[in-house]
Subunit: 267 residues, 2 copies
Protein backbone atom coordinates (compact mmCIF):
# COMPACT_ATOMS: atom_id res chain seq x y z
CA UNK A 1 0.00 0.00 0.00
CA UNK A 2 1.34 3.43 -0.98
CA UNK A 3 1.92 5.73 2.01
CA UNK A 4 -0.39 8.76 1.85
CA UNK A 5 1.62 11.87 2.74
CA UNK A 6 -0.25 15.13 3.04
CA UNK A 7 1.84 18.12 1.96
CA UNK A 8 0.84 21.77 2.46
CA UNK A 9 4.15 23.55 1.83
CA UNK A 10 4.81 24.16 -1.88
CA UNK A 11 8.55 24.34 -1.12
CA UNK A 12 8.59 20.81 0.32
CA UNK A 13 11.65 19.10 -1.23
CA UNK A 14 9.71 15.84 -1.64
CA UNK A 15 7.82 17.52 -4.50
CA UNK A 16 11.03 18.00 -6.53
CA UNK A 17 10.01 15.55 -9.28
CA UNK A 18 6.89 17.59 -10.03
CA UNK A 19 8.29 21.11 -10.33
CA UNK A 20 7.70 23.46 -13.28
CA UNK A 21 6.26 20.93 -15.73
CA UNK A 22 5.83 23.59 -18.42
CA UNK A 23 9.53 24.54 -18.42
CA UNK A 24 10.76 22.22 -21.17
CA UNK A 25 14.49 22.93 -20.79
CA UNK A 26 14.45 22.57 -17.02
CA UNK A 27 12.45 19.34 -17.25
CA UNK A 28 14.83 17.82 -19.81
CA UNK A 29 17.77 18.24 -17.44
CA UNK A 30 15.88 17.23 -14.32
CA UNK A 31 14.39 14.10 -15.89
CA UNK A 32 17.64 12.98 -17.53
CA UNK A 33 19.72 13.50 -14.38
CA UNK A 34 17.31 11.65 -12.14
CA UNK A 35 16.24 9.01 -14.66
CA UNK A 36 12.57 9.76 -14.27
CA UNK A 37 9.56 10.77 -16.29
CA UNK A 38 6.09 12.11 -15.47
CA UNK A 39 2.74 10.54 -16.30
CA UNK A 40 -0.39 12.72 -16.20
CA UNK A 41 -3.95 11.56 -15.77
CA UNK A 42 -5.40 8.35 -14.37
CA UNK A 43 -5.43 6.47 -17.67
CA UNK A 44 -1.85 7.35 -18.59
CA UNK A 45 -0.57 6.57 -15.08
CA UNK A 46 -2.20 3.14 -15.30
CA UNK A 47 -0.66 2.46 -18.69
CA UNK A 48 2.81 3.48 -17.54
CA UNK A 49 2.64 1.18 -14.52
CA UNK A 50 1.17 -1.66 -16.61
CA UNK A 51 4.08 -1.27 -19.06
CA UNK A 52 6.51 -2.06 -16.23
CA UNK A 53 7.85 1.36 -15.27
CA UNK A 54 8.38 1.45 -11.47
CA UNK A 55 6.66 4.43 -9.80
CA UNK A 56 8.82 6.71 -7.63
CA UNK A 57 5.80 8.54 -6.20
CA UNK A 58 2.28 9.74 -6.95
CA UNK A 59 0.85 13.24 -6.49
CA UNK A 60 -2.84 14.07 -6.46
CA UNK A 61 -5.66 16.03 -4.90
CA UNK A 62 -7.84 14.05 -2.46
CA UNK A 63 -10.72 13.61 -4.91
CA UNK A 64 -8.52 11.58 -7.29
CA UNK A 65 -7.47 9.00 -4.69
CA UNK A 66 -10.45 6.70 -5.22
CA UNK A 67 -9.93 6.42 -8.96
CA UNK A 68 -6.40 5.07 -8.51
CA UNK A 69 -7.10 3.14 -5.30
CA UNK A 70 -6.07 -0.20 -6.82
CA UNK A 71 -2.76 1.17 -8.17
CA UNK A 72 -2.00 2.75 -4.81
CA UNK A 73 -2.83 -0.50 -3.03
CA UNK A 74 -0.37 -2.36 -5.26
CA UNK A 75 2.49 0.06 -4.67
CA UNK A 76 4.77 0.91 -1.74
CA UNK A 77 5.97 4.38 -2.77
CA UNK A 78 4.66 7.64 -1.32
CA UNK A 79 1.50 9.28 -2.63
CA UNK A 80 1.65 13.02 -1.98
CA UNK A 81 -1.81 14.37 -1.29
CA UNK A 82 -2.09 18.09 -2.01
CA UNK A 83 -4.73 20.71 -2.69
CA UNK A 84 -5.42 21.53 -6.32
CA UNK A 85 -4.07 25.04 -5.70
CA UNK A 86 -0.80 23.61 -4.38
CA UNK A 87 -0.54 21.19 -7.31
CA UNK A 88 -0.93 24.13 -9.66
CA UNK A 89 1.66 26.18 -7.78
CA UNK A 90 4.25 23.39 -7.89
CA UNK A 91 3.70 22.13 -11.44
CA UNK A 92 2.98 25.51 -13.01
CA UNK A 93 -0.29 24.52 -14.63
CA UNK A 94 -3.81 23.50 -13.76
CA UNK A 95 -3.73 19.71 -13.38
CA UNK A 96 -7.20 19.10 -14.72
CA UNK A 97 -6.63 15.41 -15.37
CA UNK A 98 -6.04 14.85 -11.70
CA UNK A 99 -3.37 12.33 -10.84
CA UNK A 100 0.33 12.63 -11.61
CA UNK A 101 3.01 10.00 -11.12
CA UNK A 102 6.77 10.14 -11.31
CA UNK A 103 8.23 6.89 -12.70
CA UNK A 104 11.70 5.42 -13.23
CA UNK A 105 13.00 5.20 -16.75
CA UNK A 106 14.15 1.67 -17.54
CA UNK A 107 17.24 0.87 -19.66
CA UNK A 108 16.60 1.15 -23.39
CA UNK A 109 16.74 -2.20 -25.18
CA UNK A 110 19.45 -2.95 -27.78
CA UNK A 111 18.47 -2.22 -31.40
CA UNK A 112 18.62 -5.94 -32.30
CA UNK A 113 15.98 -6.90 -29.77
CA UNK A 114 13.65 -4.11 -30.94
CA UNK A 115 14.04 -5.32 -34.52
CA UNK A 116 13.81 -9.04 -33.77
CA UNK A 117 10.21 -9.72 -34.73
CA UNK A 118 9.43 -6.42 -36.46
CA UNK A 119 8.27 -6.23 -40.06
CA UNK A 120 7.40 -2.49 -40.29
CA UNK A 121 9.34 0.12 -38.35
CA UNK A 122 9.59 3.91 -38.14
CA UNK A 123 12.97 5.61 -37.93
CA UNK A 124 12.93 9.22 -36.69
CA UNK A 125 15.91 11.45 -37.30
CA UNK A 126 15.70 14.84 -35.56
CA UNK A 127 12.03 15.41 -34.78
CA UNK A 128 12.24 18.22 -32.22
CA UNK A 129 8.60 18.71 -31.25
CA UNK A 130 7.25 16.43 -28.52
CA UNK A 131 3.73 16.70 -29.94
CA UNK A 132 4.96 15.32 -33.25
CA UNK A 133 6.87 12.49 -31.59
CA UNK A 134 3.74 11.50 -29.68
CA UNK A 135 1.50 11.78 -32.74
CA UNK A 136 3.91 9.63 -34.79
CA UNK A 137 3.94 6.89 -32.14
CA UNK A 138 0.12 6.94 -32.01
CA UNK A 139 -0.32 6.74 -35.79
CA UNK A 140 2.35 4.05 -36.12
CA UNK A 141 0.66 1.90 -33.47
CA UNK A 142 -2.81 2.37 -34.98
CA UNK A 143 -1.66 1.62 -38.51
CA UNK A 144 0.29 -1.55 -37.80
CA UNK A 145 3.90 -0.51 -37.23
CA UNK A 146 5.88 -2.72 -34.84
CA UNK A 147 8.71 -0.57 -33.51
CA UNK A 148 10.36 2.88 -33.55
CA UNK A 149 14.07 3.77 -33.69
CA UNK A 150 15.27 7.26 -32.79
CA UNK A 151 18.37 9.12 -33.92
CA UNK A 152 20.51 10.41 -31.04
CA UNK A 153 19.00 13.93 -31.19
CA UNK A 154 15.32 13.09 -31.68
CA UNK A 155 13.00 14.46 -28.97
CA UNK A 156 12.15 12.26 -25.97
CA UNK A 157 9.13 9.92 -26.25
CA UNK A 158 8.83 9.86 -22.45
CA UNK A 159 8.46 13.60 -22.14
CA UNK A 160 5.02 14.39 -20.63
CA UNK A 161 3.64 15.95 -23.83
CA UNK A 162 4.84 13.07 -26.04
CA UNK A 163 3.23 10.52 -23.74
CA UNK A 164 -0.07 12.38 -23.66
CA UNK A 165 -0.34 12.89 -27.42
CA UNK A 166 0.68 9.27 -28.07
CA UNK A 167 -2.22 8.07 -25.87
CA UNK A 168 0.31 5.75 -24.21
CA UNK A 169 1.64 4.23 -27.46
CA UNK A 170 5.16 5.18 -26.27
CA UNK A 171 4.69 2.55 -23.54
CA UNK A 172 3.41 -0.25 -25.73
CA UNK A 173 5.48 0.19 -28.91
CA UNK A 174 9.05 -1.18 -28.60
CA UNK A 175 11.55 1.66 -29.21
CA UNK A 176 15.17 2.58 -28.59
CA UNK A 177 17.92 5.03 -29.58
CA UNK A 178 20.26 4.31 -32.46
CA UNK A 179 23.82 4.38 -31.13
CA UNK A 180 25.39 5.35 -34.47
CA UNK A 181 23.89 8.22 -36.45
CA UNK A 182 26.21 8.01 -39.45
CA UNK A 183 25.67 4.36 -40.35
CA UNK A 184 22.16 3.97 -38.98
CA UNK A 185 20.43 3.33 -42.30
CA UNK A 186 23.10 1.07 -43.88
CA UNK A 187 23.02 -0.99 -40.65
CA UNK A 188 19.28 -1.42 -41.04
CA UNK A 189 19.72 -2.48 -44.67
CA UNK A 190 22.25 -5.11 -43.53
CA UNK A 191 19.71 -6.28 -40.94
CA UNK A 192 17.27 -7.03 -43.76
CA UNK A 193 15.17 -3.86 -43.88
CA UNK A 194 14.57 -1.77 -46.97
CA UNK A 195 14.94 1.83 -45.81
CA UNK A 196 12.50 4.28 -47.42
CA UNK A 197 13.20 7.96 -46.74
CA UNK A 198 10.27 10.38 -46.87
CA UNK A 199 11.65 13.46 -48.61
CA UNK A 200 11.03 16.17 -51.19
CA UNK A 201 14.22 15.11 -53.06
CA UNK A 202 14.25 15.32 -56.86
CA UNK A 203 14.54 11.57 -57.34
CA UNK A 204 11.79 10.64 -54.87
CA UNK A 205 9.02 8.40 -56.19
CA UNK A 206 5.40 8.29 -54.93
CA UNK A 207 5.35 6.45 -51.61
CA UNK A 208 2.90 3.86 -52.92
CA UNK A 209 5.43 2.80 -55.56
CA UNK A 210 8.42 3.08 -53.21
CA UNK A 211 7.04 0.57 -50.69
CA UNK A 212 5.43 -1.84 -53.17
CA UNK A 213 6.55 -5.42 -52.65
CA UNK A 214 8.90 -4.74 -49.72
CA UNK A 215 8.88 -7.34 -46.96
CA UNK A 216 10.66 -5.70 -44.01
CA UNK A 217 10.39 -1.93 -44.29
CA UNK A 218 11.90 0.98 -42.36
CA UNK A 219 10.11 4.28 -43.01
CA UNK A 220 12.57 7.12 -42.35
CA UNK A 221 11.35 10.58 -41.25
CA UNK A 222 13.25 13.83 -40.82
CA UNK A 223 13.06 17.03 -38.84
CA UNK A 224 10.09 19.42 -38.97
CA UNK A 225 12.14 22.31 -40.33
CA UNK A 226 14.68 21.08 -42.82
CA UNK A 227 13.73 17.43 -43.27
CA UNK A 228 16.32 14.65 -43.35
CA UNK A 229 20.07 15.27 -43.22
CA UNK A 230 21.84 14.77 -46.57
CA UNK A 231 23.60 11.73 -45.09
CA UNK A 232 20.35 9.99 -44.18
CA UNK A 233 18.60 11.03 -47.36
CA UNK A 234 21.41 9.60 -49.47
CA UNK A 235 22.09 6.47 -47.44
CA UNK A 236 18.46 5.28 -47.60
CA UNK A 237 17.68 2.50 -50.07
CA UNK A 238 14.76 4.45 -51.56
CA UNK A 239 13.43 8.01 -51.51
CA UNK A 240 9.66 8.52 -51.42
CA UNK A 241 7.29 11.48 -51.63
CA UNK A 242 3.61 11.94 -50.85
CA UNK A 243 2.19 13.53 -54.02
CA UNK A 244 0.90 17.01 -53.21
CA UNK A 245 -0.84 19.90 -54.92
CA UNK A 246 1.66 22.24 -56.58
CA UNK A 247 2.64 25.39 -54.71
CA UNK A 248 1.64 24.12 -51.28
CA UNK A 249 3.88 23.91 -48.24
CA UNK A 250 4.57 20.30 -47.52
CA UNK A 251 2.46 18.31 -45.07
CA UNK A 252 3.25 18.49 -41.38
CA UNK A 253 5.54 15.57 -40.43
CA UNK A 254 2.87 13.92 -38.27
CA UNK A 255 0.31 14.08 -41.10
CA UNK A 256 2.87 12.81 -43.62
CA UNK A 257 3.72 9.94 -41.29
CA UNK A 258 0.08 8.95 -40.95
CA UNK A 259 -0.34 8.85 -44.72
CA UNK A 260 2.93 6.98 -45.26
CA UNK A 261 2.08 4.43 -42.54
CA UNK A 262 -1.34 3.83 -44.07
CA UNK A 263 0.12 3.30 -47.54
CA UNK A 264 2.96 1.13 -46.23
CA UNK A 265 0.62 -1.05 -44.19
CA UNK A 266 -1.14 -1.89 -47.50
CA UNK A 267 2.04 -2.63 -49.47
Amino acid sequence: MATLVEITDPADPRLADYRDLRDVELRKHLEAEHGLFLAEGEKVVRRAVAAGFPPRSFLMAPRWLDGLADELAASDVPCYVVSEALAEEVTGFHVHRGALASLERTPLPPVESVLASARSILVLEDIVDHTNVGAIFRSGAALGFDAVLLAPRCADPLYRRSIKVSMGAVFTTPWTRLPDWHDALPSLSRAGFTTVALTLAEDAVPVEDAVAGIDRVALVLGSEGHGLSPRWEQSADRRAIIPMRAGIDSLNVAAATAVACYVTARR
Copy 2:
Protein backbone atom coordinates in the same frame (compact mmCIF):
# COMPACT_ATOMS: atom_id res chain seq x y z
CA MET B 1 3.20 54.37 -45.72
CA ALA B 2 2.30 53.05 -42.28
CA THR B 3 2.86 55.55 -39.46
CA LEU B 4 5.58 54.35 -37.08
CA VAL B 5 4.42 54.94 -33.50
CA GLU B 6 6.88 54.22 -30.71
CA ILE B 7 5.15 52.99 -27.55
CA THR B 8 6.89 52.54 -24.19
CA ASP B 9 3.91 52.21 -21.83
CA PRO B 10 2.54 48.65 -21.69
CA ALA B 11 -0.84 50.07 -20.58
CA ASP B 12 -1.19 52.18 -23.74
CA PRO B 13 -4.78 51.61 -24.96
CA ARG B 14 -3.61 51.49 -28.58
CA LEU B 15 -2.16 48.04 -27.82
CA ALA B 16 -5.60 46.61 -26.99
CA ASP B 17 -5.69 44.26 -30.00
CA TYR B 18 -2.49 42.54 -28.84
CA ARG B 19 -3.27 41.78 -25.21
CA ASP B 20 -2.95 38.38 -23.55
CA LEU B 21 -2.60 36.27 -26.68
CA ARG B 22 -2.30 33.07 -24.63
CA ASP B 23 -5.66 33.57 -22.92
CA VAL B 24 -7.89 31.62 -25.32
CA GLU B 25 -11.22 32.55 -23.73
CA LEU B 26 -10.42 36.25 -23.49
CA ARG B 27 -9.14 36.32 -27.09
CA LYS B 28 -12.28 34.59 -28.40
CA HIS B 29 -14.47 37.35 -27.00
CA LEU B 30 -12.14 40.20 -27.89
CA GLU B 31 -11.64 39.04 -31.48
CA ALA B 32 -15.33 38.32 -32.09
CA GLU B 33 -16.50 41.62 -30.64
CA HIS B 34 -14.03 43.71 -32.59
CA GLY B 35 -14.07 41.60 -35.77
CA LEU B 36 -10.32 41.14 -35.79
CA PHE B 37 -7.70 38.41 -35.82
CA LEU B 38 -3.98 38.26 -35.17
CA ALA B 39 -1.25 37.15 -37.55
CA GLU B 40 2.16 36.22 -36.13
CA GLY B 41 5.45 36.18 -37.98
CA GLU B 42 6.59 37.89 -41.16
CA LYS B 43 5.51 35.10 -43.51
CA VAL B 44 2.04 34.73 -42.00
CA VAL B 45 1.47 38.49 -41.91
CA ARG B 46 2.35 38.68 -45.62
CA ARG B 47 -0.01 35.85 -46.47
CA ALA B 48 -2.89 37.42 -44.52
CA VAL B 49 -2.47 40.75 -46.30
CA ALA B 50 -2.05 39.04 -49.69
CA ALA B 51 -5.31 37.16 -49.05
CA GLY B 52 -7.13 40.50 -48.82
CA PHE B 53 -7.57 40.99 -45.07
CA PRO B 54 -7.20 44.72 -44.27
CA PRO B 55 -4.61 45.39 -41.53
CA ARG B 56 -5.79 47.41 -38.51
CA SER B 57 -2.24 47.84 -37.19
CA PHE B 58 1.17 46.20 -36.94
CA LEU B 59 3.27 45.66 -33.82
CA MET B 60 6.96 44.82 -33.82
CA ALA B 61 10.39 45.39 -32.31
CA PRO B 62 12.67 47.72 -34.31
CA ARG B 63 14.79 44.89 -35.74
CA TRP B 64 11.78 43.43 -37.60
CA LEU B 65 10.89 46.65 -39.45
CA ASP B 66 13.21 46.03 -42.40
CA GLY B 67 11.80 42.60 -43.14
CA LEU B 68 8.29 44.00 -43.59
CA ALA B 69 9.33 47.35 -45.11
CA ASP B 70 7.40 46.73 -48.33
CA GLU B 71 4.19 45.79 -46.50
CA LEU B 72 4.50 48.86 -44.27
CA ALA B 73 5.11 51.07 -47.30
CA ALA B 74 1.91 49.78 -48.91
CA SER B 75 -0.26 50.39 -45.83
CA ASP B 76 -1.61 53.47 -44.05
CA VAL B 77 -2.36 52.02 -40.63
CA PRO B 78 -0.19 52.51 -37.54
CA CYS B 79 2.82 50.30 -36.87
CA TYR B 80 3.51 50.20 -33.12
CA VAL B 81 7.23 49.93 -32.47
CA VAL B 82 7.99 48.44 -29.09
CA SER B 83 10.86 46.74 -27.24
CA GLU B 84 10.83 42.95 -27.19
CA ALA B 85 10.31 43.12 -23.41
CA LEU B 86 7.23 45.28 -23.85
CA ALA B 87 5.88 43.01 -26.60
CA GLU B 88 6.25 40.08 -24.21
CA GLU B 89 4.57 41.97 -21.37
CA VAL B 90 1.57 42.92 -23.50
CA THR B 91 1.05 39.67 -25.40
CA GLY B 92 1.99 37.33 -22.57
CA PHE B 93 4.55 35.35 -24.50
CA HIS B 94 7.96 35.73 -26.12
CA VAL B 95 7.25 36.87 -29.69
CA HIS B 96 10.18 35.01 -31.25
CA ARG B 97 8.80 35.28 -34.76
CA GLY B 98 8.98 39.04 -34.59
CA ALA B 99 6.17 40.88 -36.29
CA LEU B 100 2.51 40.78 -35.32
CA ALA B 101 -0.41 42.27 -37.17
CA SER B 102 -4.05 42.79 -36.24
CA LEU B 103 -6.33 42.40 -39.26
CA GLU B 104 -10.05 42.86 -39.98
CA ARG B 105 -12.14 39.78 -40.46
CA THR B 106 -14.06 39.96 -43.72
CA PRO B 107 -17.65 38.68 -44.14
CA LEU B 108 -17.85 34.90 -44.58
CA PRO B 109 -19.01 33.88 -48.05
CA PRO B 110 -22.31 32.04 -48.57
CA VAL B 111 -22.09 28.25 -48.68
CA GLU B 112 -23.13 28.17 -52.35
CA SER B 113 -20.20 30.30 -53.48
CA VAL B 114 -17.73 28.17 -51.51
CA LEU B 115 -19.14 25.06 -53.14
CA ALA B 116 -19.46 26.49 -56.65
CA SER B 117 -16.36 25.02 -58.28
CA ALA B 118 -15.40 22.54 -55.56
CA ARG B 119 -15.07 18.83 -56.23
CA SER B 120 -13.60 17.69 -52.87
CA ILE B 121 -14.51 19.38 -49.60
CA LEU B 122 -14.01 18.86 -45.88
CA VAL B 123 -16.87 19.34 -43.43
CA LEU B 124 -15.86 19.77 -39.78
CA GLU B 125 -18.44 19.29 -37.07
CA ASP B 126 -17.20 20.24 -33.57
CA ILE B 127 -13.42 20.18 -33.73
CA VAL B 128 -12.51 22.09 -30.57
CA ASP B 129 -8.71 22.23 -30.76
CA HIS B 130 -7.23 25.06 -32.83
CA THR B 131 -4.14 22.98 -33.60
CA ASN B 132 -6.33 20.31 -35.16
CA VAL B 133 -8.31 22.86 -37.20
CA GLY B 134 -5.06 24.30 -38.55
CA ALA B 135 -3.57 20.88 -39.28
CA ILE B 136 -6.74 19.81 -41.13
CA PHE B 137 -6.68 22.92 -43.33
CA ARG B 138 -2.99 22.31 -44.12
CA SER B 139 -3.49 18.66 -45.02
CA GLY B 140 -6.59 19.39 -47.06
CA ALA B 141 -4.78 22.05 -49.08
CA ALA B 142 -1.72 19.85 -49.64
CA LEU B 143 -3.78 16.83 -50.66
CA GLY B 144 -6.05 18.53 -53.16
CA PHE B 145 -9.20 19.54 -51.26
CA ASP B 146 -10.93 22.67 -52.55
CA ALA B 147 -12.94 24.05 -49.61
CA VAL B 148 -13.89 23.61 -45.95
CA LEU B 149 -17.28 23.99 -44.27
CA LEU B 150 -17.58 24.39 -40.50
CA ALA B 151 -20.45 23.50 -38.20
CA PRO B 152 -21.59 26.41 -36.00
CA ARG B 153 -19.52 25.25 -33.00
CA CYS B 154 -16.29 24.25 -34.72
CA ALA B 155 -13.18 26.14 -33.50
CA ASP B 156 -12.10 29.31 -35.33
CA PRO B 157 -9.71 28.94 -38.31
CA LEU B 158 -8.57 32.55 -37.82
CA TYR B 159 -7.47 32.00 -34.26
CA ARG B 160 -3.69 32.63 -34.03
CA ARG B 161 -2.80 28.99 -33.34
CA SER B 162 -5.00 27.66 -36.21
CA ILE B 163 -3.40 30.10 -38.65
CA LYS B 164 0.12 29.16 -37.59
CA VAL B 165 -0.39 25.41 -37.77
CA SER B 166 -2.18 25.71 -41.12
CA MET B 167 0.86 27.53 -42.57
CA GLY B 168 -1.60 30.06 -43.96
CA ALA B 169 -3.90 27.52 -45.65
CA VAL B 170 -6.81 29.13 -43.75
CA PHE B 171 -6.23 32.20 -45.95
CA THR B 172 -6.02 30.42 -49.29
CA THR B 173 -8.66 27.70 -48.89
CA PRO B 174 -12.24 28.95 -49.34
CA TRP B 175 -14.24 28.25 -46.16
CA THR B 176 -17.39 29.33 -44.35
CA ARG B 177 -19.80 28.40 -41.54
CA LEU B 178 -22.82 26.24 -42.16
CA PRO B 179 -25.91 28.19 -41.06
CA ASP B 180 -27.99 25.09 -40.32
CA TRP B 181 -26.49 22.30 -38.22
CA HIS B 182 -29.42 19.90 -38.37
CA ASP B 183 -29.79 19.67 -42.14
CA ALA B 184 -26.20 20.41 -43.09
CA LEU B 185 -25.44 17.02 -44.64
CA PRO B 186 -28.76 16.47 -46.46
CA SER B 187 -28.32 19.99 -47.94
CA LEU B 188 -24.91 18.98 -49.26
CA SER B 189 -26.38 15.83 -50.77
CA ARG B 190 -29.02 17.91 -52.51
CA ALA B 191 -26.22 20.17 -53.81
CA GLY B 192 -24.69 17.15 -55.54
CA PHE B 193 -22.11 15.99 -52.99
CA THR B 194 -21.84 12.49 -51.62
CA THR B 195 -21.27 12.93 -47.89
CA VAL B 196 -18.84 10.41 -46.34
CA ALA B 197 -18.66 10.45 -42.53
CA LEU B 198 -15.44 9.26 -40.91
CA THR B 199 -16.58 7.23 -37.90
CA LEU B 200 -16.07 4.09 -35.85
CA ALA B 201 -19.72 3.10 -36.43
CA GLU B 202 -20.60 -0.58 -36.83
CA ASP B 203 -21.68 -0.22 -40.45
CA ALA B 204 -18.66 1.81 -41.58
CA VAL B 205 -16.74 0.46 -44.57
CA PRO B 206 -13.03 1.02 -45.30
CA VAL B 207 -12.56 4.59 -46.54
CA GLU B 208 -11.01 3.39 -49.79
CA ASP B 209 -14.23 1.55 -50.65
CA ALA B 210 -16.48 4.32 -49.34
CA VAL B 211 -15.07 6.97 -51.69
CA ALA B 212 -14.54 4.79 -54.75
CA GLY B 213 -16.17 6.25 -57.85
CA ILE B 214 -17.61 9.37 -56.19
CA ASP B 215 -17.44 12.55 -58.25
CA ARG B 216 -18.15 15.39 -55.80
CA VAL B 217 -17.25 14.29 -52.28
CA ALA B 218 -17.72 15.84 -48.84
CA LEU B 219 -15.55 14.20 -46.17
CA VAL B 220 -17.21 14.71 -42.78
CA LEU B 221 -15.14 14.83 -39.57
CA GLY B 222 -16.25 14.92 -35.94
CA SER B 223 -15.01 16.14 -32.60
CA GLU B 224 -11.77 14.96 -30.98
CA GLY B 225 -13.48 13.47 -27.98
CA HIS B 226 -16.70 11.79 -28.97
CA GLY B 227 -16.60 11.95 -32.77
CA LEU B 228 -19.61 12.91 -34.85
CA SER B 229 -23.05 13.62 -33.40
CA PRO B 230 -25.60 10.85 -34.01
CA ARG B 231 -27.51 13.22 -36.30
CA TRP B 232 -24.53 13.84 -38.55
CA GLU B 233 -23.39 10.24 -38.46
CA GLN B 234 -26.83 9.05 -39.52
CA SER B 235 -27.60 11.75 -42.06
CA ALA B 236 -24.39 11.18 -44.05
CA ASP B 237 -24.72 9.21 -47.29
CA ARG B 238 -21.92 6.82 -46.32
CA ARG B 239 -19.97 5.90 -43.19
CA ALA B 240 -16.24 5.16 -43.55
CA ILE B 241 -13.47 3.89 -41.27
CA ILE B 242 -9.70 3.85 -41.54
CA PRO B 243 -8.77 0.22 -40.85
CA MET B 244 -6.67 0.04 -37.67
CA ARG B 245 -4.85 -2.54 -35.59
CA ALA B 246 -7.17 -4.15 -33.04
CA GLY B 247 -7.11 -2.84 -29.48
CA ILE B 248 -5.59 0.54 -30.38
CA ASP B 249 -7.09 3.92 -29.58
CA SER B 250 -8.24 5.50 -32.77
CA LEU B 251 -6.07 7.88 -34.78
CA ASN B 252 -5.95 11.53 -33.83
CA VAL B 253 -8.46 13.48 -35.95
CA ALA B 254 -5.72 15.39 -37.80
CA ALA B 255 -3.90 12.15 -38.68
CA ALA B 256 -7.16 10.48 -39.72
CA THR B 257 -8.00 13.47 -41.91
CA ALA B 258 -4.61 13.31 -43.65
CA VAL B 259 -5.10 9.63 -44.43
CA ALA B 260 -8.69 10.11 -45.57
CA CYS B 261 -7.74 13.09 -47.78
CA TYR B 262 -4.93 11.08 -49.37
CA VAL B 263 -7.22 8.16 -50.10
CA THR B 264 -10.04 10.38 -51.33
CA ALA B 265 -7.75 12.34 -53.65
CA ARG B 266 -6.98 9.01 -55.36
CA ARG B 267 -10.61 7.86 -55.70
